[in-house]
């Protein structure tokens, strides 16, 4: 039997397995950073900051719930009705892993299974009473552990490449969404904040939400300037949470996949990913800011969705008659 047959359904599950974990990690990090930040005085009213966080995650509180840290944390971590809550993401990731159990390493499966069983034991009131920080660290570490096992126990073949696509596509879109809520155009913002730039702690919060604070300082020193921060998180070629880096990884993985499956390198999915990559690779921050950062970011998001759709149509749910004639 030929090496490396990959069922379309399996590829889809591997992609979503890692996408869900990336989402859970991102949410955990945002909550952790913002809960820590809430201890400090800030120019922005706390409520605004929390609702901005919800916006960046495309989530709303249930009707009637007050916008306070407890409710938001509950909504984003344990709420079974929120499909993107951390617990639901981890559970979905495990469910996807279970469906492709024979394709991933035993180490990976055991880690995600154990991790899920452990996280399921926790609930909002116990973590709230103790240190939520401890809990979020467990989440992040559990996911990092899984990623480490993935990289070191699974062959870096086609399946691994689909895992890469899931992780980095999610990351590119999450970072873009986060940037867009921090760089609100003055006319979009409420009257009480119009024209007001968030102060130092706000920018620390943004950078830390992308684990980028230290990395940024190493490049630009601790002089926090909004355009440099945007440049770093959007265009830096070497920082693993920048949009550019993430898109590079997606593009590389897609090339490896089209090689492995004997597809034409000029397939639609590769062209779309290549175009997005070029936009980021050759973009100038001054031009981007002048043209409107938010429009640029919506473009990135739209193109990322386009890449996923094309991938889906090429590898996962392609039309049968076409496949039979080729």
């Amino acid at each position: 039997m030929a090496e490396g047959i990959m069922l379309s359904r399996v590829a889809d599950s591997l992609l979503w397995l890692s996408r869900y974990l990336e989402r859970a990690e991102h949410t955990a990090r945002l909550l952790d950073v913002n809960l820590a930040l809430a201890l400090e005085q800030s120019a922005r009213p706390a409520e605004q900051r929390w609702s901005r966080l919800l916006d960046s995650l495309n989530t709303m509180l249930p009707a009637g719930a007050t916008c306070d840290p407890y409710n938001i944390t509950r909504r984003l971590t344990f709420d079974g009705k929120n499909p993107s809550s951390i617990i639901n993401c981890i559970s979905s990731a495990r469910e996807n892993a279970r469906q492709v159990r024979e394709q991933i390493s035993s180490e990976m499966w055991e880690q995600i299974n154990r991790f899920f069983l452990q996280v399921r034991q926790a609930n909002i009131d116990t973590i709230w009473k103790r240190q939520p920080h401890e809990f979020f660290r467990t989440i992040k570490e559990g996911i990092h552990f899984f990623q480490g096992l993935t990289d070191s126990t699974l062959g870096h073949g086609e399946g691994w490449q689909f895992i890469q696509v899931g992780r980095y596509l999610e990351r590119a879109m999450a970072t873009a969404a986060l940037l867009s809520v921090y760089y609100v155009k003055p006319d979009d913002a409420g009257a009480d904040t119009s024209g007001q730039m968030p102060e130092y702690l706000e920018w620390v919060g943004l950078l830390k939400s992308c684990t980028a604070f230290e990395a940024y300082c190493r490049v630009y020193t601790a002089d926090l300037r909004p355009d440099r921060i945007a440049e770093f998180l959007l265009l830096d070629p070497a920082f693993p949470h920048s949009v550019r880096f993430s898109v590079d990884m997606v593009q590389a993985a897609l090339c490896a996949i089209s090689d492995a499956t004997g597809r034409h390198p000029g397939d639609r999915v590769n062209r779309l990913a290549g175009r997005l990559q070029a936009t980021l690779r050759y973009g100038q921050i001054e031009e981007i800011m002048a043209g409107g950062l938010n429009d640029f970011l919506s473009g990135v998001t739209r193109q990322s969705i386009g890449v996923y759709d094309a991938l889906y149509e090429t590898y996962i749910a392609y039309p049968i008659d076409q496949a039979l004639t080729s």
């Binding site: 039997m1 379309s8 590829a11 024979e102 597809r263 049968i320 496949a323």
Partner: protein, 485 residues
């Protein structure tokens, strides 16, 4: 005079009576093959054993070696309880089992070929024609269809029980989609991890090659002329109770685990949908029942199967393991005729005897059974997994009345057997050793020849006094050691 094991405090409540005990002879001394393990276990403090037990349980849970319980909240996963004390069979005992099962499987395949072909056994009255044709799993669609190499059953799990005099009897054959082999293999892995030295010194025959033997058996079904064939395992999906086993076997064999929605049939050829396009499939080790395998031919409401699969199969473009229609021989009324069928096809007496069985559509046998419901076990002929069963001595008057009515309404659907005293084996429960009833399901692979990896799944009825070993009914399992000597 050997010291009786029963004087050991950990065996204070151990039940030893006329029922065959796997470890102890009638006088309470250990049987030779259990000597060393008894000495080891008896020397370990209960805390130590408890620690090993917990380590084993956790290992099963973390590995996700679980099964799904039906009839409860969707997705309820449980571990299959594992008992630390291995069940040990001597080389001589195994030889009889191996010989008996090989004989039985050979005869069963001849029988299946016969009933879907010339029907000699029917014509000669060895088994009533009506009985065969009224089997729930008889597939008229298989009439006149030649299966590759006349092998209908690539995998069989036959349940054996041991009775008072130490003989093994066949309790039932599972020829459709027998499960449990992954527990046999996982139990061994856990055993080696928990008691490495004990295991190493014992001279236990290995079973790890099961996956390779199964793959070779599947390969022997590849349609002629196909180079670089694809072999796949078809699972009903993640909600099936044996899903763990399906993933396990697929990984052991290195073959794709597919669901019905991954496959499609075009011009009577089966394909799977891969990221590199469609790829032809040659052999399907299917873990989906006949009923669900092709909605065009069998149950139209099935979403687990592949429309058009049966026609591709008919034309020989794809092989199925096991073949369609093997469930006839699972029927417990057909089972009653096995000794006669073995004699008919092979001219030999059965090495492993059947349990005495009353076929209830026979008026005389039915009369006897209805008068003795409180002493007999009644089983529905087409059920498995411990469902649809009346255990007379443990039943209430109301349950017996329900079965009486059910039998009279449809006598063909039931058989009865005497209540067997299944052999008991020591189990470590609540810090003590207790005797519990067990059975044995070896897995018989039929490829170029019949191969049985030395061992099987020993199932345990964990509830005191219980005779039901099925996992769905509170059963557990043990590692099964077959010794060289």
């Amino acid at each position: 005079m050997p010291e009786s094991v029963l004087s050991h405090p950990a065996f204070a409540t151990y039940l030893l009576d006329a029922t065959y005990d796997e470890m102890l002879a009638g006088d309470g001394s250990t049987r030779p093959q259990y000597d060393a393990i008894y000495r080891q276990l008896a020397a370990l403090p209960a805390d130590e054993l408890r620690y090993h037990q917990q380590a084993a349980d956790l290992s099963f849970l973390n590995q996700g070696i679980t099964f799904t319980v039906y009839g409860q909240e969707e997705g309820t996963e449980r571990i299959f309880p594992y008992d630390l004390v291995p069940r040990i069979l001597t080389g001589a005992e195994w030889q009889t089992i191996e010989r008996g099962l090989t004989q039985r499987i050979t005869a069963l395949n001849l029988f299946l070929k016969d009933i879907y072909g010339p029907g000699r056994a029917l014509a000669e009255g060895i088994i009533p024609r009506d009985l065969v044709y009224s089997c729930r799993h008889y597939r008229r669609e298989m009439r006149g269809l030649a299966v590759p190499r006349d092998i209908y059953t690539t995998v069989v799990g036959t349940d054996l029980v041991r009775v008072g005099d130490g003989r093994f009897l066949v309790l039932e054959d599972n020829l459709r989609v027998p499960s449990g082999v992954s527990y046999m293999l996982a139990n061994r892995q856990v055993m080696k991890r928990v008691f490495p030295r004990l295991f190493g010194d014992y001279g236990v025959r290995p079973i790890d090659h099961y996956g390779q033997v199964l793959l070779a058996a599947l390969r022997s079904l590849v349609p002629p002329g196909r180079t670089d064939p694809s072999i796949v395992l078809l699972t009903p999906g993640v909600f099936n109770s044996a899903y763990f086993e399906h993933t396990f076997l697929a990984r052991q064999m290195g073959i794709p685990l597919v669901e019905g929605r991954d496959l499609l049939v075009h011009d009577n050829v089966v394909y799977m949908r891969t990221t590199a396009g469609l790829r032809r499939v040659d052999v399907i080790y299917r873990r989906v029942d006949d009923d669900f395998i092709d909605p065009v031919v069998f149950r139209p409401d099935s979403i687990l199967g592949v429309p058009g699969l049966f026609n591709a199969y008919r034309l020989g473009n794809v092989a199925l393991a096991n073949a369609v229609g093997t469930g006839v021989a699972d029927d417990k009324a057909v089972y009653a005729y096995m000794p006669a069928l073995i004699r008919f096809y092979l001219g030999e007496d059965a090495v492993l005897e059947n349990v005495e069985t009353y076929v209830l559509w026979d008026e005389k046998q039915r009369g006897y059974v209805l008068e003795n419901l409180d002493r007999l076990v009644v089983k529905a002929v087409g059920e498995s997994g411990g469902y649809g069963m009346l255990i007379g001595p443990h039943s209430t008057a109301q349950q017996r009345e329900e079965f009486r009515r059910a039998i009279l309404a449809n006598p063909r659907n039931y058989i009865a057997q005497p209540t067997l005293a299944l052999s008991r084996a020591p189990c470590f429960l609540d810090g003590r050793f207790e005797a519990r009833h067990i059975d044995l399901r070896p897995f018989i692979l039929y490829g170029e020849k019949v191969t049985i990896v030395p061992g099987g799944l020993t199932r345990v009825a964990l509830r005191r006094g219980s005779l039901v070993v099925n996992s769905s009914q509170g059963g557990g399992s043990k590692d099964t050691w077959v010794l060289y000597g």
